[in-house]
């Protein structure tokens, strides 16, 4: 058999560059160039904002980012185990915020002593009660969602489950609107955690306020994240979750009750969303039916940014997103109205350039 073929030199990979890669490179280079230009502009040319203002941005970004991280954990947990985006997660958070709002309203109406209410006489107990209420409602909601909208569809085409999730999200949002009216309500914090109060720090000669609520939310979020990390890494439940994420069938064969673990995952993810909702209410002070939508989308962005399915990734992604979003408009010289555009642009850019996120494995390509 005499065959004539041109052989490529061994070890030499001929690379065919596709047009899309050229576009990718061009976009990446121009974005980098623009960012560098803005960096030097902000540092050396423009002195619109002093160091104190930047610190304020950074602080608010860290606080919001911590809440994003807690919500993002919920997305990542469910995605890690079911490869499904729980679209209604933001709504679960909203319901948690409402539950806490009602608890505060009720406790605020209970008189305790002269001229004060239960809420202000026993603020710690009140806050604990609010968290218990918010987290229970959200946990229940997570379980209900899984049972009604997702479990019957498990194993079916992904599109079907996703549409169901979108439907559930719309349903919950509008149910809340119908029940509680579309009115924006002020979240009545206990006095010692009232919004706007805080420590003052002097930065470049000007006072920068670190609010109590902000501190509370940031520390609370970090504690929750640590707790969750412990649960996943150290408990039997966490082990089961990781086993199912690895291989559902094998896990079932090893005697893990897959249905139960999935339900528990939804419960845990709901509890996290509920806690996030309570903190959101405490810090931002407003509840209405729509507060879950944007934080939900942003937290999803955070989860993708960190690498979806990856728990430390969600934490990192949340904080990074919060900070970038807070610093972004000033840094890029954009209007603050466009804050949300920055978050979504990050989502698109991450998915285009590094779908696996900061800490994730490559999941964007399906197995052949």
């Amino acid at each position: 058999m005499a065959v004539e073929t041109q052989t490529a030199p061994r070890g030499l990979r001929r690379r065919r560059i596709r047009p899309y890669q050229v576009v990718q490179i061009v976009v990446a280079v121009s974005i980098t160039a623009f960012l560098l230009y803005r960096l030097q502009y902000v540092l050396f040319v423009d002195d619109l904002y002093g160091l104190d203002t930047w610190t304020r941005f950074l602080i608010s970004g860290l606080v919001i980012g911590a809440v994003y991280a807690v919500i993002a954990i919920g997305y990542t947990l469910v995605y890690g185990i079911l490869f499904m985006i729980n679209f209604a997660h933001g709504e679960v958070m909203m319901l948690g915020a409402f539950a806490a709002y009602f608890v505060f309203e009720a406790l605020g109406a209970i008189p305790a002593g002269a001229e004060t209410s239960f809420l202000n006489t026993y603020p710690i107990i009140s806050i604990i009660l609010a968290f218990i209420a918010g987290m229970s409602v959200s946990t229940g909601m997570g379980l209900l969602l899984e049972r009604v909208a997702y479990r019957p569809l498990r194993g079916g085409p992904r599109l079907v489950a996703l549409i169901s999730a979108i439907g559930a999200s719309l349903f919950l949002q509008n149910a809340a609107q119908l029940m509680f009216s579309p009115r924006r309500r002020a979240f009545a914090n206990p006095d010692f955690l009232s919004r706007g109060a805080g420590f003052e720090v002097m930065i470049s000669g000007r006072p920068v306020l670190i609010t109590y609520t902000g501190t509370f939310v940031f520390v609370g979020s970090l504690l929750l994240l640590a707790l969750l990390y412990f649960i996943i890494q150290r408990t039997r439940f966490g082990q089961a979750v990781r086993a199912i994420a690895e291989d559902q069938e094998a896990a079932a064969l090893m005697g893990i009750n897959v249905d139960r673990v999935i339900a528990q995952t939804f419960a845990l993810s709901g509890a996290m969303a509920g806690a996030a909702g309570v903190m959101w209410g405490l810090h931002n002070g407003i509840v209405y039916h729509f507060i879950g939508f944007l934080p939900g989308l942003k937290a999803f962005t955070a989860a993708v940014l960190g690498g979806i399915g990856n728990i430390p990734g969600a934490m990192v992604g949340g904080l990074v997103l919060g900070v970038v979003e807070a610093l972004g408009p000033a840094f890029l010289g954009l209007d603050f109205q466009l804050k949300d555009v920055i978050a979504f642009s990050i989502l698109v850019l991450v998915l285009v350039f590094r779908p696996s996120g900061i800490l994730g494995e490559v999941v964007a390509e399906e197995k052949v």
Binding site: V3, T5, V368
Partner: protein, 259 residues
Amino acid sequence: MSIVLETQSVTKRFGGLTAVNSVDLQVPEHTIASVIGPNGAGKTTFFNCITGFYIPEEGDVLFQGASLIGIAPDKIAKLGIARTYQNIRLFNTMTVIENVMVGHHPRMKKGLIGAVLRGPSTVAEERDAYRMAMDLLRFIGLKDKADVMARNLPYGDQRRLEIARALANEPHLLLLDEPAAGMNPQETAAMTEFIRRLRDERGQTILLIEHDMRVVMGISDQVTVLDHGEKISEGPPDKVKRDPRVIEAYLGKPLEEDV
């Protein structure tokens, strides 16, 4: 006899695992070449390197003399390589004939505008594709089930339909991934006969992956044995069958057998 496909020390790694290690293989025209090996020997990975779904880290894949490295899977299909899957992957909600017509996709030209205007040339192309698909269905004996939903076919028919879909590509090289998997002895025999007919009646060049020795030994012109990603034996079936390394790979070391 010219060589249709040649791989030159193709190597594919996943992290630390070398799934395919420096495999050389030649498939001459109008022959059936087989790659056998125990489960996990890297056979399907090897297929994926040929069809462009994986890009091997080292080595080259030459199809009719030209390298396939870095070419997208759909372009490779268009060049004339068609494949089937170990776990049948038909387009379930399409009818039998539609499945076959999808296989013919790279041999058709009409796009969006042709489809909307549906001029005489589009009608002619569709009609030709339909006839070609019907001929193939007649060949595999599924003519009467042309309008049945693919998922409603019995297992054996699905296997053959998958092959017909690949044949609709009019490929120079047909890759069959364990066509007899999950079949009982009678069905296996029928499938073996069917593959033989593909070569003898249609002159089809075939590269076959199997771990069932019975299928391979009866019809192959040449057999390559993989184990842990490496080629351990090669040659005509009779020779390979007697190769002690092959026997060892399949049955384990004789000593272990005693234990």
